[in-house]
């Protein structure tokens, strides 16, 4: 299981990376916005995408839409981890096909439960 973590702040990437490691996901890779994430995703081999929303270059919501529109990536599970908390934004992300939405600041338990839920759904499907 290879996970791509996309956030413009290196500290947040490190926190998410450490939490994922504690959950047993040791194979992670990082990108600092949507534009740098896309070539990595298109190169293949990524099984799960964790992305922030507010980033320079390409924002997380646009990355999500691009992923869903790409035939080879459209079924990639995407977890949004963001400080964006407007109801409208959450609804747009849901409509765009996000698999989970975690608001910052978050706890290890929240991240854990959202990731588990996503995999439960994938396994059930």
């Amino acid at each position: 299981m290879k996970i791509l973590i996309v956030d413009d702040f290196s500290t947040m990437r490190r926190i998410i990376k450490n939490l994922l490691r504690d959950l047993g996901f040791n194979n992670t890779i990082e990108a600092d916005d949507g534009l740098t994430a896309l070539p990595i995703l298109k190169a293949g081999g990524i099984d799960f995408l964790v992305t922030d929303w507010n980033m320079p270059g390409m924002q997380g919501i646009d990355l999500l839409k691009t992923v869903r529109a790409d035939a080879s990536l459209s079924s990639l599970p995407v977890l949004m981890v963001t400080a964006e908390t407007k109801r409208e934004q959450i609804m747009v992300a849901a409509q765009a096909g996000v698999n989970g939405y975690v608001v910052k600041p978050f706890t290890a338990a929240t991240l854990n439960s959202k990731i588990e839920k996503i995999f439960e759904r994938i396994d059930a499907a």
Partner: protein, 244 residues
């Protein structure tokens, strides 16, 4: 000759009418020129007043604390300071994460060895242990106890360093306070500029197109905003109401 008073204007107008009725073209021109000049001088008066107000406003900026200084040095300086806040908080976060990375394996190793010894100890108490195994157990315990002290000392050092890494808050807090003060100063000056100029500026209401999903970062005072969720539970409720 200036036509500032109503009486003078009226009399010029009357003379204009009589000149027109009398077909006195020369007089008509003369009276018309007088009336136009009256209009122009009012415009000049208005422009003069505006210039004076603007001059006074600019002077008052200079007296207060130099608008020029504000734009030339204070603003770039503030940008530098805010960048310093980003760098400092980032460094502190990485430092803290580094100490956590260094501490976690120490705690894990203590736990793992303790579990192993605990299991052997229980077997010993239940007399399920032969001599060789007991010798190994006592060897493990002998090696473990100094390790506990050593790791605990290191954990204590790491925790102290983590605590010290939080010292950034004092520094960044001071800088952010300075920026707040600066913004207040600029606000006061801008309000005065608007007060002076608003007499002459026609207010046009522009219909701004607002992107409802524009990224805004953390919401301040979100409790009173119905369009914003306050915690993960509210996110989950919203998503499940959408059939998620």
């Amino acid at each position: 000759m200036e036509l500032n008073s109503k009486t003078a204007l009226l009399s010029t107008a009357r003379e204009l009418v009589s000149a027109l009725e009398a077909d006195n073209e020369e007089l008509v021109q003369q009276q018309l020129t007088l009336l136009t000049q009256a209009q122009d001088s009012e415009l000049f008066l208005e422009v003069g007043k505006l210039t004076r107000d603007l001059h006074e406003a600019l002077n008052s900026f200079n007296v207060d604390s130099c608008l020029v200084d504000l734009t030339e040095s204070t603003m770039p300086n503030t940008r530098e300071r805010l960048n310093y806040v980003i760098t400092t908080t980032e460094n502190a976060a990485h430092k803290t994460l580094g100490f956590i990375d260094a501490t976690m394996p120490l705690a894990s190793s203590l736990k793992e060895t303790a579990e192993k010894i605990d299991e052997s100890w229980h077997r010993f108490r239940k007399r399920e242990m032969n001599v060789d195994e007991f010798r190994e157990l006592s060897h493990d315990i002998e090696a473990y106890l100094p390790l506990v002290k050593q790791h605990s000392d290191q954990i204590h050092i790491n925790l102290t360093d983590m605590m010290m890494a939080q010292g950034f808050q004092d520094l960044t807090g001071q800088i952010i306070r300075q920026v707040i003060t600066l913004i207040e100063e600029v606000e006061v000056k801008l309000v005065r500029l608007v007060q002076v100029s608003s007499k002459y500026i026609e207010h046009k209401k522009e219909d701004k197109i607002v992107d409802p999903i524009k990224a805004e970062g953390p919401q301040i005072n979100a409790e009173n905003n119905p369009n914003v969720v306050n915690n993960q539970d509210e996110v989950d409720d919203l998503l499940s109401s959408l059939g998620f």
